[in-house]
């Protein structure tokens, strides 16, 4: 009769530790990881609504309609066990180029819970970015 092989406890502990470490590394990588994915051509795109005086107000309306439920009314972010909703007053958003933010809105960061907003026309995504930049 064949006997089942016992898995040493030490191996099991190491596997669990490795998985835990990998999970944390993955979560850390998710924090701003999208910035590394933006192609240079997209990164350099200019915001056609950057100087439009109406764009921040229109962008604020878009934000209130589509983004505030996750990011907070004042874009202050929200805690969440799985996917914390980032504060949009952060340095990362401050330093990101309009092209990078446009790429993020278009593609989302889906592993981190941020959906694609490609359903919004390009013009509205740029207006939203003008609003986000006005927060800084």
């Amino acid at each position: 009769m064949r006997t089942a092989k016992k898995i040493p406890m030490r191996w099991l502990t190491q596997v669990v530790l490795a998985l835990f470490l990998a999970r944390n590394l993955y979560a850390a990588a998710g924090d701003g990881e999208w910035l590394r994915k933006v192609p240079p051509k997209d990164r350099a795109r200019a915001n056609p609504y950057a100087t439009d005086p109406d764009a921040p107000v229109a962008g604020a309306r878009i934000f209130a309609e589509h983004c505030a439920s996750c990011h907070g009314e004042a874009a202050q972010g929200k805690p969440d066990k799985k996917h914390p909703r980032p504060n949009l007053h952060s340095d990362r958003v401050k330093q990101a180029t309009p092209g990078e933010l446009f790429w993020l809105l278009t593609n989302g960061s889906q592993r981190n819970g941020m959906p694609s907003w490609s359903k919004l026309p390009d013009a509205q995504r740029w207006q939203l970015i003008t609003f986000l930049k006005s927060l800084q």
């Binding site: 994915k37 609504y49 109406d54 764009a55 107000v57 229109a58 962008g59 309306r61 878009i62 309609e65 589509h66 439920s69 996750c70 278009t106 593609n107 989302g108 889906q110 592993r111 819970g113 941020m114 959906p115 694609s116 490609s118 359903k119 026309p121 390009d122 013009a123 509205q124 207006q127």
Partner: protein, 294 residues
């Protein structure tokens, strides 16, 4: 009332509909608008994670030599993940001079395999439906579906447990959405695979948002068209003895409120119903579970 056999009385149906309206009214206080562009065609837009959309999708028609009907599919759509949306449909219909019946349920799932945006974005769709032959919701047209399906009196004896797969291809460019769906459906009790298609294109009337709050701004309206129909089955693939429809679609997203959608559909051949009118109201409750916990 014989719920177990898919039969309910008119008063029970009205009671359910009243309860649903109450729920929708409650939801109105917390809602935003819906996202999809069509009635039959799916685009690659999925529900945002955590959001619940409640939608009543109706179709009415008066088939030649048959009785006029109104069929409604009540839909609960939940964003499970950014790449996965799950939906439950409850179907019912009223046929003039016949009866009002609950015709079954559908459970569908849409999954996005590619996480970033591409020129063409594929979505995989899986559905199980447990409906009876009286169902007239026409959420898709497949095989040799046609006008004759609407001529028999409400027949609830034939159960249809079916699986349905769709390949959804969809693109957004310059404000336009263009979507193509390829449908394959099979009755689990037997019968060949049946095929169908749905195509749609739509665009908001204005691409930029206006600075002033307004209800009737052009950006709150989208105009489009969709076409759908059957492609026969495994034994007789093609357009012979199939039905096809074409019509414009108008969507009105009320800011901080529900979405309304209308579409007159015109049958394109003798096998189709001459005219159908589709209408829909939907409400989206953002971060539904979080609100429940509060």
């Amino acid at each position: 009332m014989r719920l177990g056999c898919n039969y309910i009385s008119v008063s029970a149906y009205l009671y359910i509909m009243r309860s649903v309206f109450l729920l929708l009214t409650l939801a109105l206080a917390l809602t935003l608008h819906a996202q999809e562009n069509y009635f039959v065609t799916y685009s690659h837009e999925l529900e945002e994670p955590g959001n619940l959309e409640i939608e009543a999708k109706s179709v009415t028609g008066a088939p030649k030599d048959g009785n006029a009907f109104v069929a409604t599919a009540l839909e609960f759509e939940y964003g499970v993940k950014t790449w996965w949306t799950s939906e439950l449909y409850l179907d019912g219909q009223t046929t003039v001079g016949e009866s009002t019946v609950f015709t079954g349920f559908r459970w569908e799932n849409r999954v996005r395999p590619l996480l970033s945006e591409h020129w063409i974005n594929p979505i995989l769709y899986f559905e199980f439906e447990d409906i009876n032959a009286a169902d007239k919701a026409m959420l898709e047209v497949v095989g040799h579906d046609g006008r004759t399906n609407f001529l028999a009196r409400n027949d609830r004896s034939e159960k249809k447990r079916e699986v349905e797969f769709k390949l959804i291809l969809s693109s957004n460019f310059r404000g336009w959405n263009v979507s193509e769906n390829f449908i394959a459906e099979k009755n689990l009790a037997g019968g060949p695979w049946e095929f169908g298609y749905a195509l749609g294109a739509s665009r908001p009337l204005a691409l930029a948002a206006s600075a002033k709050p307004c209800t009737f701004c052009r950006e709150n309206f989208a105009l489009g068209a969709e076409m759908y129909g059957g492609l026969g089955d495994r034994h007789s693939f093609g357009l012979r003895d199939t039905s096809h429809y074409l019509g414009p679609v108008v969507t009105f997203d009320i800011p901080k409120g529900p979405s309304l959608r209308f579409s007159p559909n015109f049958g394109l051949n003798d096998n189709s119903n001459g005219f159908l009118f589709r209408f829909m109201i939907s409400y989206e409750i953002e971060q539904f579970l979080s609100k429940l916990k509060k």
